[in-house]
Amino acid sequence: MDHQSKYEPTNGFTRWIDSRLPVVRMAHDSFIDYPTPVNLNYWWTFGGILTFCLVIMIVTGIVLAMHYTPHVDHAFDSVQHIRRDVQFGWLIQYVHANGASMFFLAVYIHMFRGLYYGSYKEPRELLWILGVVIFVLMMAAAFLGYVLPWGQMSFWAATVITNLFAAIPWVGEGIRTWLWGGFSVDNATLNRFFSLHYLVPFVIFAVVALHIWALHVPGNNNPKGIDPKGNQDMVPFHPYYTAKDGFALGLFLLLFATFVFYLPDALGHADNYIKADPLVTPEHIVPEWYFLPHYAILRAVPDKLMGVIAMFAAIAILFVLPWLDSSKVRSGRYRPLFQQFFILFVVACVALGWAGGQPAEGAALLVSRVGTIYYFAFFLIILPLLGVFETPREMPNSIAEPVLKKPDSPPELEPDSTGKPAPVPAE
């Protein structure tokens, strides 16, 4: 949000810095004095949580890389060496492995929030697109990282995913060989996956910086989806939202720690404690939970190439979401029909996740097909048409002002995040 910089260098040194590279001023304007809508609820705390996750993953990852050996004969044992012999290695490794799951949990909530409150709409299209770029990079990092412990699921996940590229007509097999660095998933594959797994998080870090930059130009969206009209609608980011984000982060860390310390293997798969064996295929090859919806979409389509296209399209469609939604109303709060379809969409995503974990037959296959159809219909049919046919609820004039009361249509009085009744005018 454009605003007058209130940073005052307090001594000679900071004045000297400020006149040459105003980096302290930038940080001050972006994270201290940055004007933020007053009504952000807890769904808005996941941006900070995600930044924290990224830092945790990079820090633990750097330490793990000091002890890990990217070689097919040693990778599996070197992870166990970290668990057994490295000082606090067990802790660092569990945090890293469970951190991936926590990262995806947070990013999915963050994305659903953006979807519900219309955070992808004008003028925040680029902000949304950069977010989708980060999501794609996260998926790449998670997949590459999952291969590194070189257990059975690592190996077979790598085999299944790289084989998807072989479905591309004419060039597919060549691309697969190029990805493998040989004629099967082998040492060359493991080496390059390690190299790329180390690279991608820093790319993510850079795109996150762009994401925050793109956020700070138009400013935060908010649960009402209307632009702040003045100072009564805003508070400085620090201390108001640092405190709120800090509290939410505390809750998130409690969940994170519960997994790390009490359920460290609950989100993983037993087969990955068996060393990779190209000659033995596991009974069920299942990805980690955060890829299950995509896996369900892949298997919902009977044709392999079409399945691959559907899976990638399910992600790619997010890039054009800002132009698929025809409604001018940002927040789902004032869109009665959209709310219903949105709840169904969340249900469809969860159902796809369930179906992706089952063998592709019977009820699970049916659920994955219905879920896939709804997933695409939501973006391609429902969102474009809804803006035309839906009558939005009456909206308040500003963030600080309540909805004008009308006798025939009771205003939508949603309790805010703190459980207090509807907002009252400032002053």
Partner: protein
């Protein structure tokens, strides 16, 4: 009228995976007749569990379910339909049983390993399992690590010294034999995998270092497997040569015969070595081997969670205090 073709799915309605439960599930068959009509046949096996069913039971049930049409079946058709049903019962009897839940000393947020059980478990591994199963990730020194079996360093030295390791080369370039040291990893019973396969009819006994983590239901599974050999082979199951019936194993046919016989080890602490006792002890030991830092993990959990809990409360209070005069 002849029944021409039996096809479509045979649906087992309930609980196939827990197949040796109290009663056998019902079976719904769609039988297509020669004139193109479809006959629904409902087979009820009554109270008899799936793993007690015989071919005679299947025949009897088929006769009852088909009613009037039973007489119109040619003997070939009857055999074929019976085979179909038996085939499906057999395939459902390949689903492994879920192990019963056991209470372990290490269960729960405060669970720790029982030192004496770990020591007895090591004895069972050494005297029974180790002749076929390696444990490559465990060194003798681990036996005296904190959170482990709690052998003293002298005991560990003695345990390691029972084995001979090839070392070298020495200054003349020759390999030499020496007694084991605490830093040595447990000796592997085979010089290579092929030897292990050859010695065991083609099935390589898996390394046990991570066995309780590498199987679903880990400790409960290993315990059920080690004590699961007393179940009679179901009449409809055709055993492969050289395999043993064990309902907890994937496919229910396992190359390892029963290993734990009462009193086969003599515990130094006087514990009676029943099959259940030995199985419990060795599972305790294997669970420790799978995660030697489990006690460190659980010990750190409480201070970390308490710290985070207090921090979160303080964050909440400061958040509330900061926002108390803000209308939002």
């Amino acid at each position: 009228m002849r029944i021409a073709k039996l096809f479509l799915s045979i649906l087992f309605v309930v609980g196939l995976t827990g197949a040796s439960g109290p009663a056998s599930p019902d079976v719904d068959l769609d039988v297509q007749l020669a004139d193109g009509s479809t006959q629904k046949v409902h087979l009820t096996f009554g109270e008899k569990p799936l793993d007690k069913l015989t071919r005679d039971d299947v025949r009897a049930m088929l006769t009852i379910s088909l009613g009037d049409q039973a007489a119109q079946l040619s003997s070939e058709e009857r055999t074929r339909v019976e085979d179909e049903i038996v085939g499906h019962i057999q395939s459902s009897l390949r689903y492994k049983k879920s192990p019963d839940h056991q209470h372990w000393h290490f269960s729960g947020p405060l669970g720790t390993f029982d030192r004496m059980a770990l020591q007895r478990g090591y004895q069972v591994y050494r005297e029974v399992c180790a002749s076929c199963h390696s444990m490559d990730l465990i060194a003798f020194r681990n036996l005296s690590d904190p959170g482990g079996p709690g052998f003293s360093e002298d005991e560990v030295k003695a345990l390691a010294a029972q084995f001979t390791y090839e070392d070298g080369p020495d200054e003349f370039g020759d390999m030499f034999d020496r007694p084991g040291k605490p830093s040595d990893y447990f000796p592997n019973p085979y010089t290579n995998e092929n030897q292990g396969r050859a010695a065991n009819g083609g099935a390589l006994p898996p390394d046990l270092s991570l066995i309780t983590k590498a199987r679903k239901y880990g400790p409960d599974y290993v315990y059920a497997l080690m004590t699961g050999y007393d179940k009679p082979v179901p009449p409809l199951v055709e055993m492969q040569v050289g395999l043993y019936y064990n309902p907890y194993f994937s496919g229910r046919q396992i190359a390892m015969p029963n290993q734990l016989f009462p009193e086969m080890v003599e515990y130094a602490d006087g514990t009676v070595a029943t099959q259940e006792q030995m199985a419990k002890d060795v599972v305790e030991f294997l669970t420790w081997a799978g995660e030697p830092k489990m006690e460190a993990r659980k010990a750190m959990a409480i201070p970390v969670l308490a710290y985070l809990f207090i921090l979160t409360i303080l964050m909440y209070m400061s958040y509330k205090r900061l926002w108390r005069n803000i209308d939002h």
